[in-house]
Amino acid sequence: MKRVVITGAGTVNALAQDVAGTLKAFAEGRCGISALDIPDIDRLSIKIGGQVHGWDPEAHFNRQQIVLFDKFTQFTLVAARQAIAQSGLNFDGRLGNEAGVVLGTAGGGVNTWDENYRAVYEERKNRVHPFVVPKLMNNAAASHVSMEFNLRGPSFSVATACASSNHAMGQAFHMIRSGMTRAMVTGGSESMLCFGGIKAWEGLRVMSKEACRPFSLTRNGMVQGEGAAVFVFEEYEHARKRKAEILAEVVGFAMTSDAADIVMPSRQGAARAIAGALRDARLDPADVGYINAHGTGTAANDKTECAAVADVFGPQADHVMISSTKSMHGHLIGGTGAVELLACIMALRDGIIAPTIGYEEPDPECALDVVPNEAREARVEAAISNAFAFGGLNAVLALRRV
């Protein structure tokens, strides 16, 4: 089996439009959740989100591209450019024949659906732009990354709701580990902060009107975010020979299905995924210093996740740090695991643990060290990143310091 390392990272999210800015915000415990700036906000009861304010497509794309790129594709391409530039890889030669791009997104081009439904239903237009379909399709972002960087190997998109990015990155990890390819571009993105996207979530009545406060007794729901994070996964010897900077090693991955309920999470399903990732990575609970929680700030998730961690870690659960950066960037749905992997990289490489901000009061049912409100310095050898999706689909990645 080949070893797999991360040699590039890029992101656009509510905290910053690059990795350096995002990690700085994590370290400062800064909140990127703010008043939403979208049409018809007065008809929504949820008026906050982790929105990417000041997004300027013209700074990154020409007119023809903007016509063809939904916002989830735009975020992905900008993040991919940063990641591939950092890796220093070029895919024009033989490497490009085997390297591909696997990306997670739950909704794909939701803004494009929203704008065009509005045009035909509300504005009574009888014609839409010819590129609506290629703009909204879930694989649009993956395809445009493949085209821009000449990635000619296996490429596809993964849609498993809130676990999409972790499932996508798990696929990329498996492909390199098995020797199928020496490099993959992977991660995920989401952009559903539009009237229809938020209205749909409102219906579930799990959204907070004030803030995302994971694990705090005072929490009252999740807050949606948007953005992307993209990574270059590379076979270790390939990276070492070309003296690439290695951000972290991906050492394990596991997926499970609850087979139980379409929205309520299962403690057993989550615990089996966490335990599976540790087993795959040959890690003991005592090796793990940091867990990036799924931590949505809903009653259902936070209690279930803490119970699952306690089940797997046993007495070690009292010594592991677990935080939810959703408190800062919101829940990026299909893109969330990708942005959250940045917090794992920061913990392993920089020795800084991102906090759970907005934390007000301990919850006896979430009695773990949730790194409340302020970042912490600690040397961490291994970290895991949890994602538990609606539909009961769980995906957990394990990383190690290099």
């Binding site: 219906g203 579930l204 009545r205 799990v206 907070s208 009252n220 729901g221 009653a299």
Partner: protein
């Protein structure tokens, strides 16, 4: 139809029961309506009465919408209708 009758009808549909089996003293749990069923019930109530029910599934008790029994729900709905008319 009175508010109580309409609420009973909505809950009976949600629970998959005959209207006669839903009494004002029943709790939703006793009728087999779970937390998701409650969210659907509230949606149906909002549509039927054209009101907005304050309810957050994360903190059902803190939402200020008493749903401890069919009678309590009907009373809370009546309160919201009155509030909206005022």
């Amino acid at each position: 139809m009175t508010v109580e009758d309409t609420v009973r009808k909505i809950i009976a549909e949600q629970a998959g029961l005959d209207l006669a089996d839903v009494t004002l003293d029943n709790s939703l749990e006793s009728l087999g309506v779970d937390s998701l069923g409650l969210v659907e019930t509230i949606f149906a109530i909002e549509e039927a009465f054209d009101i907005s029910v304050p309810f957050n599934a994360n903190a059902p008790q803190a939402s200020g919408f008493d749903h401890s029994s069919v009678r309590a729900i009907a009373a809370a709905v009546q309160g919201l209708i009155d509030q909206q008319a005022a």
